[in-house]
Symmetry: D3
Subunit: 249 residues, 6 copies
């Protein structure tokens, strides 16, 4: 199985982190390829940044997805994931979707711990729009700026661990999602110190993409994610234009 | 008061329709300016098309919004509206938001009538994400392709009227939203034949933008719509890059 | 445009406050008239008081509404507002409805700050019955009795400001509604000290009534707010009796 | 145990029907007293009529409730019931509340069948405001005017039975509420023909009032239904004025 | 009226407590019989224990329910109550259902106070599955192990009272449910010290079972609680096997 | 990886069907073992039958789960699944949970198609209790009894296909869950005739159990699914008694 992992942000250091954790999580027979956004911001925290990241995601998928069995949108908040489900004939899964599916299967209530307080409002909206808020016990994020998005999972490990323990003690959660590609791998490092499962976004996404990719679902020909009708367009990049063309044939 | 009206789609004919209805709805002292997306599709029906339209909207706002008192995102589904609230120091309102606020003030339950069945799933998601689904009695859309998005409000008037009457009879709605910029002005033409208020998206948006623009709210310095933190970016257009820069100063 | 503003409470001092703020918020061409309940309590805090205030509202509307383009029920909690929508051929809008519509258009989550803790349970019910609780971040009210309902917005300004700041800091709200006619005008006085928009009930109601009044919706002939069927009645005041009669013709 | 049964409408014929069914449902040791609204309409179908009926209910309770162990508001929609919980030191229960509690204890989903289509929107709102809509399978009402509110349960028995059977067949309900005091007693007459329990509003209310009256709950001194704070009032009837006075001592 | 009260747990001391309180709450003409689970745990705190208790409940009902007018499942969380509604031709009511119905009729929001923190997650699920979570203000439980489930209502009275007062002060609740058969009778002992009604599970269940038993509802022949279709089975106890057989005749 | 698949029903023919489909869905390196309930009914349709099946599931898990990496409860409705999550140190997943997680990752709205109308009410409850009802477009089941639970997927293939097509056409669903172990494998046979993905319960459960089993989550030591406290018990089978003992060490 070949999985394309798209980083909707421009940070190559985060792409490297993602690739490393994705390969560790994947089955030996799974081939992982990563690509990085050619435009956008260092990491996505707000709706405006997500708009840009969503477009960058579609561009990457349009250019690179041919020949893959599944695609992963490797930023929490899943910019462009619903659009990718519609545009691609293969399963396309966001980090949030995969982490939420894992929390769902573990049962009970989950918290989300992430790298910035500001990002919490957007994550809350994403969880709600995915219909999972009944189980959501709340978000906790780092309350001051960090130095380096590529090493925040190392630099701020202690504070992130304390936030996890606080979720257990104060909110009685049954699992905790470590949100954001920049935290890839942190779960393995602190899991022995937290008495409930820690869900890694990248690892979850790889395993869920493998599970869905092996399911053999045919491309949709009806419903909200079937290819859109033919219509006029202009100013789109070559690959995106071709994909919209292809989709409507 | 000066209002900038953004058409997130590339159809100049629809922009003309929007401008005409916006001017008709506006106070005499309000100045209306319209701009049209420089890239994207003829009209937005799906999440993938909305991703592209959202980016086009941000580009238009970044380039043109200086000096305006309020902005309108003139496509139902409000592509980019939440991002605009965050990026701009002035009120930014989508057609859906404005129509829902009108239905809310009229009271009771509303239906939405629009130009395509396919668009219904997306509209449903938008209404839910705005938290208005408790009052939403359902969507009805034209079930076959129309010839011309610039004249669909004329060509399909009878079928659209029948759908409105069906909402009244079968769903006991208390108001009906005529969704989509291409239906701008239709409400005035069929309102005598429908026994509940017909809500025009463009007209509602103009009146609500005037109401909010006159409220004098200062730009936000806290919360989900305050300017995002400074961070690295690349590949953005000049105006969008400048706006992100400005926002973080 | 002529707007009738009804104070469902008996406090003339509050009516004066309402009138002053309404005129300040209105377009120059809008004519504002205020009337005060002839029976009831000084200000409404509970369901029982709201029952009495609702009846007083209907009586005032029955006697005075002829010739107006829109009506405002100028008490938070909107006593009688749904009934007014049904009885009147013109838009009738409560302070809560208008403030919620403003918060809705600003986006995100809102708090409500008001003059008494006791009133919170009723406000919570009203927000829920209007279907806006998904965005509601909670109520904070003064926790001890105030001296004078006509000057509470001046006498308790500091404590009210502190409650607003607490909403921002602890609940991360995106806007705050200053609830209750007795707080009319407070928003203008403290808005520079609060980093999110402060929504004034009276000002919002005037601007929304203007917006809705100009929409030109015809009186409803179907649905939950159409005139009620003819039926026997007794013991009603002359104007209310006449209005019910008129409604059923 | 002494129970005061208040008819918020002016129809003595319906009061008689209520009294007859209440006595049949009551324990032998329970004493039933009925009183009829001195002002208002023949039967309540809309929010405006409910405003008037709520006030009439409070007036009746203020004048007559001394010495009773429990009170019943004997109109579906429960006009004034929340206010009565606040004003009275004894349990006060509406027909809707009692019928919903019975449906809740029977388990599963319930429908409501009533005497007019128009009344459905209001009933829907009441069920929602009581928090029971998750189990509510919908309302069916007579779709044309009936001749006499005092005999509608006899005159329209066949059509009401057919509506009940339709709820069973089309909506797979687990119980059916026969709504409105005018249908008191109908359940006993058609229960053998319907394969799920039929819930009589008056009978339920009597049995629930007995259950709650015997519970011995002391009057509340905290919360949303505790007596309201002292405040100025004017224009209230003697008994209502006295009750508000008493409440605040 | 004859009521069978089933204790789904193996603790005879708790059965004695239940019987004592049930007799105190019942009408003089009501005959109370208690039976105790023949297998299971001392008291139910978790889903796994509830699975066992549910089966034990069905066994007790199958063996003993003939000739009774109503049945009570006397453990909070109502293990087996939905199954009992389906299997028995008489009303079957759980302690949670009855307490929630009482809180519903009192109006407003309720808290639940119980004997262990661990039990809270399960109670939360039960309240949600019964559709009452909109009014639920949260659970508080004893945070350390108690010595004796038969005397915990005496031994821990002070801490339980403090938790009740905390619900009133911090959560502004309108009533409090004292959860769990082991707390039967506690409400009477501390009600004077708490300013909102305290709802006793056993007492509520007896009064509600009397109310429902007197309603005369015929056994269901349609819907989710009608007898299940005939099908193969094996390994069931004689009475349970016979009841399933009987149910399908 | 070793997966234990528990059939909570007594039908060996269905166990064989489950085993066959589970092996087909599993990775080559996964070892599948199936066990069948020693007591209970032929297939579970109702809450009462689910009570019995839940206990049978716990007994099977207590006796057989040692040495496995994950467990599957192979009946739709997931009898005993929450209890299994609590009792076992390994991931335990029900067919419904796994199918819902798959529908969630596919995006949009799903329908459920199953083998009996009666079973629908129970499935609806299960979907609600898992918090997935916002995406649930409804259940359709065979409306007459089938001859053989082991061959119903073959005998009724045409009617089941028609129900799937009806979900697509009338409810605009984005995926369909074929519910119930007796339908294992049907998805592969009719997927070309249905234009949206068909989700097989057994196949989904195997892939999700593999994904969760490989995640390496440690057994929980906190929260709703941590081992229950030590307490007295009696009358439990040896293995179940030992498991409860083990859990509390």
């Amino acid at each position: 199985m070949k999985i394309l992992v798209v980083n909707p942000n421009i940070s190559e250091s985060v792409t490297n982190l993602i690739r490393e954790e994705a390969i560790r999580a994947a089955l030996p027979s799974t081939e992982i390829t990563t690509v990085t956004a050619t435009f956008g911001v260092a990491y996505i925290e707000t709706p405006a940044e997500a708009v840009i990241g969503s477009h960058a995601t579609l561009e990457l998928l349009a250019e690179h997805s041919a020949g893959y069995d599944a695609a992963i949108i490797a930023a929490f908040g899943d910019p462009g994931a619903m659009a990718a489900k519609e545009m691609l004939p293969i399963p396309a899964i966001g980090l949030t979707e995969a982490a939420l599916a894992s929390a769902f299967l573990l049962g009970g209530r989950f918290a989300i711990v992430g790298i910035s307080e500001r990002i919490g409002a957007w994550y809350q909206n994403v969880v709600e729009s995915l219909g999972m808020n009944a189980r959501f016990a709340g978000y906790r994020g780092l309350n001051k700026a960090f130095a380096n998005v590529g090493t925040v999972h190392i630099d701020e490990k202690d504070r992130l661990l304390q936030m996890c323990l606080s979720c257990v003690e104060n909110d009685q959660v049954d699992s905790i999602i470590l949100a954001g590609a920049p935290l890839a791998g942190l779960a393995r490092q602190i899991e022995n110190e937290v008495p409930v499962p820690l869900i890694d976004g990248v690892g979850s996404a790889v395993r869920m993409a493998e599970a869905m990719g092996r399911s053999g679902y045919a491309p949709r020909r009806s419903g909200a994610f079937s290819p859109p009708p033919v219509k006029g367009h202009k100013g789109l990049s070559g690959p995106l234009s071709a994909m919209i063309g292809r989709a409507t044939e």
